[in-house]
């Protein structure tokens, strides 16, 4: 098995975790609990009412950066994927970010005054970063995701509202596609500031924990972006096109 392994419905769920332990939080976001014995992916998904194809999309895209969903596998609803993405947002906001904040606070409190000032700078940097993340997430949840839901409903029902067509013309999904870059760059900067430039801190254990956490969050965030860009956006684009075609709007 390599990074190109394709997880399949008949594979044992436990093997997915053995194969890539970084998928643990992903399973968590689906609400899957452990103790799955030798059940296959399909059996576990059925037990939890999860769309098996969708689950496989997500773990494959997470596991292999170059994975590109095939047409056959794009067979799941927008509400599945949006629910998953919103879960991921909550996981960052309620679990990861507070954890990292605790580490930073501890570092700040346990450093001599001179270095404490430096950590305060990192703390401000991180807080600003979190503000940006919150803004980005709420923009997606309040504006982008509802728009996608509307597209989905229009396709399902065949009824297309006038406003929706206008929005497709003026503000298609492409507009929002590349907003993740900045979030990733900032996180990378934070890691580098700690690794290279923060004067040595006596509590090495704590610095290690913080760094490990930042690396993991980075993997999670990149994955989150990839799912939006490779799975969600292409699907929305093709729906946008077919709505325009049906409505007789050429573009």
């Amino acid at each position: 098995m390599s990074k190109y392994t394709l997880f399949s419905a008949q594979m044992k769920m436990a093997d997915i975790v053995y194969h890539n332990y970084l998928l643990i939080p992903v399973l968590g976001r689906f609400g899957i609990k452990y103790g799955f014995r030798n059940k296959t992916v399909e059996e576990v998904c059925r037990q939890y009412n999860i769309n098996t194809w969708f689950f496989l999309e997500i773990v494959n895209a997470y596991h292999n950066r170059d994975y590109f969903p095939t047409e056959k596998l794009r067979d799941f609803s927008f509400s599945d994927i949006i629910a998953y993405l919103v879960n991921t947002h909550r996981y960052f906001q309620k679990v990861k970010i507070p954890e990292i904040q605790v580490f930073i606070d501890e570092l700040m409190n346990s450093a001599p005054e001179e270095n404490s000032k430096n950590i305060k700078l990192l703390d401000d940097f991180f807080k600003k970063y979190v503000e940006e993340i919150d803004l980005h997430f709420s923009h997606e949840e309040d504006d982008v995701f509802p728009y996608i839901e509307q597209i989905g409903q229009a396709i399902d029902s065949g009824n297309v509202a006038e406003e929706l067509i206008e929005r497709i013309i003026n503000e298609p999904i492409e507009e929002y596609e590349r907003q993740h870059d900045n979030l990733e760059i900032k996180l990378n900067d934070l890691k580098n500031l700690i690794i290279k430039y923060l004067p040595p801190h006596d509590n090495v254990e704590l610095v290690q924990k913080l760094l490990m956490e930042l690396f993991r969050v980075e993997i999670d965030l990149n994955d989150h972006s990839r799912i939006e860009e490779k799975v969600l956006v292409p699907k929305v684009k093709s729906f946008e096109q077919s709505i325009l075609k049906k409505s007789g709007v050429s573009n």
Partner: protein, 201 residues
């Protein structure tokens, strides 16, 4: 942009010409090309050590006034920024310096000890890697970026073209490994290149 090594001063306080020559040969083998100050005894130490600068003192043990450890403590207090290496028959107890080349050492051991003496990180100095990594011009540009100036403003202030500013910024980012203005500002503050009052809020 070549990596600039600061010119260092090496003071050799050794009575025999032959030994002094040997030391210089060893240093050139390990790639050190300093400015040399040679003394045959320690009386003139004051006159050769540049005030406040960091220099490397290589001292023959037999020139030290007894008690040796007390005498060395005085020297290291006086020339706080300098590092001391002693050449002699034995390691001196309770001595403020930890570098000793012994007469019984073979070629390899001497080489390693000299390398160690010159390469060892100075843990007493404050964190200030900026001058080592960035050129003076890049440091200037970085300061202005951290103060919140736009490329055009930086170009006008430093009398260079916008393209030059952009090139400097690219090099700064490449060297430091941080891209965003806010992270560059954190770097500038950590290294005391600008004051907190000057930084972008």
């Amino acid at each position: 942009m070549a990596y600039q090594i600061k010119k260092i001063t090496v003071v050799i306080a050794v009575s025999q010409v032959l030994t002094r020559l040997g030391i210089k040969t060893f240093l050139s083998v390990i790639g050190i090309e300093p400015e040399y100050k040679e003394l045959a005894h320690l009386d003139e130490l004051d006159s050769v050590i540049p005030a406040g600068a960091k220099s490397y003192l290589i001292i023959e043990q037999s020139l030290l006034v007894k008690p040796e450890s007390e005498y060395l403590k005085n020297i290291s207090r006086k020339y706080g920024k300098s590092k001391i290496l002693i050449i002699g028959n034995r390691v001196i107890e309770n001595c403020p310096c930890s570098h000793f080349v012994l007469n019984s050492d073979n070629r390899q051991e001497i080489l390693e000890k000299f390398q160690d003496f010159f390469s060892e990180r100075d843990d007493t100095s404050t964190v200030n890697g900026a001058e080592d990594i960035l050129s003076d011009r890049e440091t200037e540009v970085l300061k202005e970026v951290a103060r919140g100036l736009a490329n055009k403003e930086i170009a006008d202030k430093l009398y260079i073209s916008i393209n030059t500013v952009i090139t400097h910024r690219k090099n700064i980012t490449e060297k430091l490994g941080v891209k965003t203005v806010s992270a560059l500002t954190v770097y500038a503050l950590m290294n005391k290149l600008i004051t907190p009052e000057e930084a972008i809020k």
